[in-house]
């Protein structure tokens, strides 16, 4: 019985059902939204890989230009950095090595996340110039 309770408790913590903080949830949801936006932009860029974006197109299409390429790649790099920082945070949390390590990991996530708004704004601005 004790073992079952221990396993259940471990599972709940692992799945972040009871141990998930507001900070983690907001960070996770933010990364999910930015990931969706970046992937949509990449898909729209690849639409014009073989032919220019047609005028009056009803599908999302971004020009196959160096500027679009650079903006999306910068956003992908920032997303990768932020996600990897969050992965490290989750690993430190699971290892339960203390608040100092967890604080450092959290600070790393916040620093990586801070770059995202500007880069997402740059990606979104590409659509306005389409």
């Amino acid at each position: 019985m004790k073992r079952i309770l221990s396993l259940t408790a471990a599972l709940l913590v692992t799945l972040c059902i009871v141990g998930c903080t507001n900070w983690e949830r907001t960070t996770f949801n933010t990364l999910a939204s930015s990931d969706a936006a970046i992937n949509a932009a990449q898909a729209a860029y690849e639409v014009s890989a073989t032919a220019p974006c047609p005028p009056q197109s009803t599908i999302a299409c971004l020009p196959h230009s160096k500027a679009v390429y650079t903006a999306i790649n910068k956003a992908k790099a920032a997303q990768t950095l932020a996600v990897n920082s969050m992965v490290t945070y989750e690993e430190v949390k699971a290892a339960n090595t203390g608040t100092t390590a967890l604080n450092a990991a959290q600070a790393d996530v916040n620093a990586a996340l801070a770059q995202l708004p500007t880069l997402i704004a740059n990606v979104k601005a590409l659509y306005g110039g389409n």
Binding site: F28, A32, H64, K66, E90, N110
Partner: protein
């Protein structure tokens, strides 16, 4: 070094500020107002994708695996033509 309530609050406020900025950037309509119809439709699709992702994420357990799933599409972009 222990975590203070003030520090936790500051961290939460910081990340909520970033989240708000990302979402308002995605949702903001200013560039769309000056854009042609097809651009507005594309932006609406972008906003819808981001909002759906936020909503779906709210019901997703936060684990190493679920966070790793948020890495961007690993396929490199094809080279630009101009």
């Amino acid at each position: 070094m222990s975590v203070t309530i003030q520090q936790v609050t500051q961290d939460i406020q910081a990340v909520q500020g970033i989240a708000g900025e990302v979402m308002s950037t995605i949702e903001g309509l200013d560039p769309a107002l000056a854009a042609p119809i097809e651009a507005v439709q594309a932006i609406e699709a972008l906003v819808a994708a981001a909002l759906t992702a936020w909503s779906n994420a709210s019901g997703t357990p936060i684990t190493v695996a679920s966070v790793q799933a948020l890495l961007p599409n690993p396929t490199p972009l094809t080279d630009p033509t101009s």
